[in-house]
């Protein structure tokens, strides 16, 4: 029996889910997960998958709902931690925090760190809440979108996002197009996603893992920014004048968050690089729609609210294909799928009616995590912002060491930091020639998927 659009029987389990969540131990577990996730998210290079793998043993010991809720709490906490480092020191914890730093970091440099963090928190909250609402009402129907939209549809979505970013990023279309192809080429070395054979590894077995994403992100945005700041002509005062930063207009930021939530919600339902695609697309969209596009890159509030809302919304809605179709849309969801298998929860369209306590309990746990993050984020904004007042001469060595160690951990080998340093120098070179890193990072992340979809289309019709 296929679930229909607004089937009342789907809601029969809501009360049992609510009951499960309101038990105090579950709340504490989610809180613990959020804190741990935050600690992990703040450490660049050490992503949520590693933290979740460490806590997997607990999933065997705990009951299904508490165990999964702990993991989901870590997931949320890590997203928040990633946003904090993006804004404060310009190092993205993971790929979907990159779009946050485009506007968030200049705002922090301009002395508005506290407001930037608070805006990011509020936007994330809005994204998470609206996506939860969408999940509750529409998920069973919308999850089927992921089924119907095959490889060609997904490739079209990703190409659309790339095109949007190419048109709106600074530097001009031709430079951005070149950066996109460079991103694709950088993603080439390693094992072919279809045949598993090594290509472009030039005989080095370490390269058969490919260019590491962590090294790329840390090199471009961590080392690269530091190199740029150290070698640029502007006077290295420790703070830039606050007057350079545009003023916050609450209404336009709120609208940006709404648009971002819609974009993120839609993107999370389909495997198309959800969080990354949505946040980059949201930033590009905000720039296109803005009446003051020249503010973008110097601290436009809409450019911060949109991506933050969209990547949280995408994170929330990517639970829909996971729970209802068994289709994970990113590596973290894949790990959660494994956890579901361990605890004996079988994903499928009938999950809400067959295991209502679990399904609705999980949704309420995610909502709880969202609310907890709102309070934590707003409360801690002042605390984090104090860190941003550390003088630059003491901050940049910390950034450099974090990038080196983080890329080692992320790549599980010395080739990680080597690549990181290389990308730092490359980033400086590209910046001096007026090229923007956004299209490159997006193309790098989406390249292998795009290739897989292309090959799937070709192989099924050859």
């Amino acid at each position: 029996m296929e679930p229909t659009f607004f089937d009342p029987s789907l809601f029969s389990g809501v009360l049992s889910g609510l009951h499960a969540v309101l038990s105090s131990s579950l709340c504490l577990l989610v809180l613990a997960g959020v804190f741990l996730g935050m600690t992990v998210g703040v450490l660049p290079g050490f992503g949520p998958p590693a933290a979740m793998a460490l806590l997997f043993p607990l999933v065997y010991v705990l009951d299904p709902l508490p165990g999964i809720s702990l993991l989901a709490g870590i997931f949320y906490g890590a997203k928040y931690g990633g946003a904090v480092t993006s804004i404060l020191i310009g190092i993205p914890g993971e790929a979907d925090a990159v779009a946050t730093l485009f506007e968030g970091h200049p705002l922090a440099l301009g002395g508005k760190a506290r407001q930037a963090l608070a805006t990011a928190t509020l936007a994330s909250f809005a994204g998470g809440m609206s996506a939860s609402l969408g999940m509750v009402l529409l998920a069973p129907v919308l999850s089927r979108v992921a089924l119907v939209l095959g490889p060609s549809g997904r490739a079209a979505i990703m190409s659309g996002a790339l095109l949007l970013v190419a048109v709106t990023s600074p530097g001009g279309f031709r430079r951005n197009l070149c950066m996109i192809f460079l991103g694709f080429v950088l993603a080439l070395p390693g094992m072919d996603p279809v045949y598993g054979s090594a290509r472009l590894t030039f005989g080095s077995w370490q390269l058969s893992g490919g260019v590491e994403l962590t090294s790329l992100l840390l090199g471009f945005f961590g080392l690269g920014d530091v190199l740029d700041a150290l070698s640029s002509k502007r006077v290295l005062s420790d703070t830039t004048p606050a007057a350079a930063v545009p003023a916050l207009k609450k209404r336009s930021a709120a609208l940006a968050a709404l648009r971002g939530s819609l974009l993120g919600f839609a993107a999370g339902l389909v495997p198309c690089g959800a969080g990354v695609t949505a946040s980059f697309a949201s930033h590009a969209l905000e720039k296109r729609l803005s009446r003051h596009p020249e503010q973008f890159g110097r601290g436009a509030w809409e450019g911060l609210a949109g991506p933050e809302a969209s990547n949280n919304a995408a994170a929330m809605s990517s639970f829909a294909p996971l729970l209802l179709l068994g289709l994970p849309t990113n590596p973290i969801m894949a790990a959660l799928l494994g956890a579901l298998t361990i605890v004996g929860v079988v994903p499928g369209p009938m999950l809400p009616s067959e295991q209502p306590a679990f399904y609705w309990g999980l949704i309420f746990c995610l909502l709880l995590g969202n609310i907890l993050l709102l309070f934590l984020g707003l409360g801690l904004a002042g605390f984090w912002a104090k860190l941003a007042e550390v003088p630059f001469r003491m901050l940049w060595p910390v950034i450099v060491v974090l990038c080196l160690v983080g890329s080692y951990v992320g790549a599980d080998g010395l080739h990680g930091p080597v690549q990181c340093v290389f990308f730092g120098l490359l980033s400086l070179f590209l910046k001096r020639h007026g090229c923007s890193p956004a299209p490159l990072v997006l193309a790098f992340t989406l390249g292998p998927r795009l290739e897989t979809y292309l090959m799937q289309v070709l192989l099924s019709t050859w």
Binding site: L188, S197, L230, W396, P397, V400, V401, V405
Partner: protein, 149 residues
């Protein structure tokens, strides 16, 4: 003069070279009649080379900003501290490498001795607690200390 032209078009040349490299180093595009592992590399390599040719020409040179000794000192300080870390890691393990590298970076950035020592110490301890104790991640301990910590 030719050197100046080379420098002017350095981005274009680098991109062109990378694209051609990817195109030529790719494996076969067709395997037993089906699309093979080399199809996408050839496509993206060619795309990169073509888009490199289409790049807008660099604007007339305003003259390279004369690097001040202070800035060059800072940048080389960063490079040196990275090298220190990379070279010390397999020898002495990650803790001495991190501490020394942070110290080098701090000093070249203009921190006083007190600030540098304090910062590198705090950073190393924080990372040690976080990685080895909290997250139980194995970091290399180097050839000299292969007895293990």
């Amino acid at each position: 003069m030719p050197l100046r032209i080379l420098f002017l078009h350095s981005l274009r040349l680098l991109m062109l070279l990378t694209g051609l490299c990817a195109f030529c180093a790719a494996p076969e595009s067709l395997v037993s009649g089906l699309p093979g592992p080399g199809l996408w590399p050839r496509f993206t390599g060619a795309g990169l080379a073509l888009s490199a040719l289409l790049l807008p020409s660099p604007k007339g040179q305003k003259g390279r900003p004369v690097p001040s000794t202070k800035r060059t000192g800072r940048v080389s300080g960063l490079i040196v501290s990275c090298l220190v870390w990379l070279l010390l890691l397999p020898l002495s393990g990650w803790i001495p490498a991190t501490a020394l590298s942070a110290l080098t970076a701090c000093r070249s950035g203009g921190c006083t001795w007190k600030e540098s020592l304090l910062l590198s110490l705090l950073l190393t301890i924080a990372l040690w607690l976080g990685l080895e104790h909290l997250l139980r991640w194995t970091m290399p301990h180097g050839m000299l200390f292969s007895g293990g910590v």
